[in-house]
């Protein structure tokens, strides 16, 4: 088995898994969980892409 994932796909999958786990472990009411998962996922992606762009000037 060998998965070929792009950087972005790997980041999304990672962020999704961690957000879901954190959401279920830290919140009990379902609505709160969903809010937490979505918010956490959004922040993971925004910060990940943001750091990527910050490193862009040093990439070449």
């Amino acid at each position: 088995m060998f998965l070929h994932l792009s950087h972005f796909q790997a980041m999304v999958l990672f962020a999704l898994a961690i957000s879901v786990a954190f959401g279920f472990l830290s919140r009990r009411p379902p609505v709160e969980r969903v809010k937490y998962i979505l918010w956490s996922l959004l922040l993971f992606l925004l910060i990940g892409v943001g750091i990527g762009w910050m490193m862009y000037p040093f990439s070449r």
Partner: protein, 138 residues
């Protein structure tokens, strides 16, 4: 003192409950989600099992490096501890990686992080299950 702290203190004073909590923590480490399932927290149990399982399968599928006990340096030892955190899924990852790791590509390097994250996440979940079993509000 808060009610939560009082409950935790009561658990410390009750050796039977403390032993049960430790057993639940160990069970949660060996099989991700099992500690929560024993306490009838079905949603959390399923979430832990699926997320840790997904991270392990993806990490092994990307041919991430699964550290072993004979790593040789401090980073390898830390990686081994993180990987071992996945409990029984460490063996699953080992059985999936029939061709060994390949960190010469970015995929393999990311896979290594997925495997370590799975272990650390499972340790966190096991600690959560242990705390819940001690009576701490979860």
């Amino acid at each position: 003192m808060t009610e939560e702290a009082q409950t935790a203190e009561a658990a410390e004073q009750d050796p039977r409950r403390e032993r049960l909590a430790v057993a639940i923590g160990v069970a949660a480490w060996i099989l991700p989600g099992f500690g929560h399932a024993l306490q009838k927290m079905w949603g959390r149990a399923l979430a832990c099992f699926l997320t840790v399982g997904a991270l392990v399968v993806i990490g092994a599928g990307m041919r991430g490096n699964l550290f072993t006990s004979d790593g040789g340096d401090a980073f390898a030892s830390l990686g081994y501890i993180a990987d071992l955190g996945a409990g029984g899924f460490y063996l699953v990852a080992k059985s999936l990686e029939v061709n060994g790791a390949d960190v010469s590509r970015a995929d393999g390097d990311y896979g290594t992080r997925f495997l370590a994250a799975a272990g650390v996440l499972n340790l966190l979940a096991a600690l959560h299950a242990y705390e819940a079993a001690r009576g701490r509000k979860a």
